[in-house]
């Protein structure tokens, strides 16, 4: 193993992934505004650049050049670090998701993922819960009753919806043992080995879990109809009350990158990742299929936002604990029996 494979390739891969995710965030906001506009028979942004394509850049410049205002009563360092703490987990979670098969460039075999962690699912669950820290610290450091209440609510929501999500992921790991003999936690293995081997029954049973997992992801990424962290109408603006300018934008950046990551996870688990027609002959096509599938799932997020009204907080909690949680436990039990019998 020379230095190219040890240092250069991972560095370049990480850099490309971060740039793509940040650009992806920018154009996710554009995609959302355009698609949402079409769903409500409007045109959407079309002033900045052709078809409004420069709108994300205009928004970014506006956020950056706004006055950097730090209220006097906040805990300054935690206040400044909190948006970054919310953002980083969303970025880091992408590391274990394979976005394409191995490709060969200049004699080096490059795998299109940052790391094949053999505890991929566990890693995703762990990273997802770290994102809650950013929210809690933002609320606490703001030194404001609205903020701390909003932060605690948000944290409770995120932690609650992680339970059914985790149980569904456990079921999926159990299901992988149908193909590999032993259940695998690796997402790379899931796409490369398990996905091509899935039987029809396996696919169908997996699809039963998709709605539950999708609802968990909506709540986990605080998307509508579970966008209670925004708290527009009951707690001023929740945990981000005291934030403005680019610091406020960072929270939304975190949310949108979280959505992209969640879509990537769903594509990997339910839609076969980068698998698609003609990938065997032209491996780079896998990236195309992956991106196309992610864009479709993102469209689903936006479509739900346009259609479903926001839920109340008590509805949110009772739905998670009284419905989603038991349902996912039942799903896990049936999966276990199913796996044991075959």
């Amino acid at each position: 193993m020379d230095w190219v494979e040890l240092l250069l390739i991972p560095a370049v891969k990480s850099l490309v992934l971060i740039v793509v995710l940040l650009l992806g965030f920018a154009y996710m906001t554009y995609y959302e505004r355009k698609f949402l506009a079409r769903l409500t028979t409007r045109v959407g942004p079309n002033r900045a650049g052709p078809k409004g394509l420069l709108q994300p850049i205009a928004d970014a410049l506006k956020a950056i050049f706004k006055e950097e205002f730090v209220p006097g009563h906040v805990d300054k360092w935690v206040y400044i670090v909190a948006p970054a703490l919310a953002l980083i987990p969303a970025l880091v979670a992408f590391a274990v998701i394979p976005i394409g098969p191995d490709i060969t460039i200049f004699g080096h075999t490059i795998s299109l993922y940052i790391a094949d962690v053999n505890i991929g699912f566990l890693y995703i669950l762990a990273i997802a819960s770290v994102g809650t820290y950013g929210v809690i610290l933002a609320g606490w450091s703001s030194n404001n009753n609205y903020s701390i209440l909003g932060a605690l609510r948000t944290a409770a929501q995120m932690v609650s919806y992680e339970l059914p999500m985790g149980i569904i992921l456990v079921s999926i790991v159990l299901l992988t043992s149908l193909s590999t003999g032993v259940g695998s936690l690796s997402l790379v293995e899931l796409v490369e080995v398990v996905t091509p081997d899935r039987s029809i029954l396996h696919w169908l049973w997996l699809w039963v879990a998709f709605p539950i997992f999708f609802i968990c992801m909506l709540a986990e990424t605080s998307r509508s109809p579970f966008d209670l962290p925004e708290t527009e109408n009951e707690l001023v603006a929740g945990f981000q009350t005291e934030y403005g300018g680019i610091k406020f934008a960072l929270f939304f950046m975190a949310e949108y990158i979280h959505v992209i990551t969640a879509s990537a996870i769903m594509v990997t688990v339910f839609f076969g990742g980068w698998q698609g027609p003609f990938v065997d002959t032209l491996p780079i096509l896998g990236v195309f299929w992956f991106v196309a599938k992610v864009i479709l799932v993102l469209g689903l997020f936006i479509w739900v936002r346009a259609s479903v009204p926001r839920v109340r907080y008590d509805q949110l909690m009772s739905f998670c604990w009284k419905f989603l949680f038991p349902i996912s436990l039942v799903y896990l039990a049936i999966t276990a029996v199913f796996v044991a019998l075959t």
Partner: protein
């Protein structure tokens, strides 16, 4: 929990229905008006920004009678009249409007000035008053008011 199962099915059906509705609207043409670039349809009786008209020979119709100023319910119009120079008249009458200003911030677009005007000099056009960056620009002076360019408008046929 079992009693809630029917509600769950019903709720899921309702969400599916709602999502169908939004998807149906996605195929429709947007209703957004791209006003300055594309023509906007207004009714023929729509009252927009003011215009001071001229006669065909170039003389101003306004003779500085101040009737519009008197008729204006909000006092948005200011007219100062002056005697015409007989050799080089600005209006066919004895007097002309030295200053003619309309304050758009006060105007209620009632059209009373139009009715009061004996020479049909002041009229309300169909053009929509454009947004301004400066409050001073909302006071329309004579050079703005005298026969401004037509905005990108069409008259609605269904009136």
């Amino acid at each position: 929990m079992m009693s809630g199962l029917g509600d769950v099915v019903k709720g899921a059906a309702q969400i599916a229905q709602a999502m169908g509705v939004t998807l149906k609207y996605a195929t429709r043409r947007p209703v957004t008006l791209e006003y300055p670039e594309e023509p906007m349809a207004v009714f023929p009786r729509y009252r927009g920004q003011h215009m001071l008209r001229r006669y065909d020979n170039g003389l101003e119709r306004c003779i500085g009678c101040c009737l519009c100023e008197a008729a204006c319910p909000t006092g948005a119009i200011l007219v100062e009249a002056a005697e015409n120079d007989p050799g080089n008249p600005r209006s066919p009458g004895e007097r002309y409007a030295k200053t003619y200003e309309v304050n758009l911030l006060r105007c209620v677009f009632c059209g009373d000035c139009e009715i009061a005007c004996p020479t049909e000099a002041i009229v309300l056009t169909q053009s929509v008053p454009m947004p301004q960056r400066n409050r001073a620009n909302f006071i329309l002076t004579q050079d703005v008011l005298l026969e401004p360019k037509d905005a990108n408008l069409v008259i609605r046929p269904d009136s």
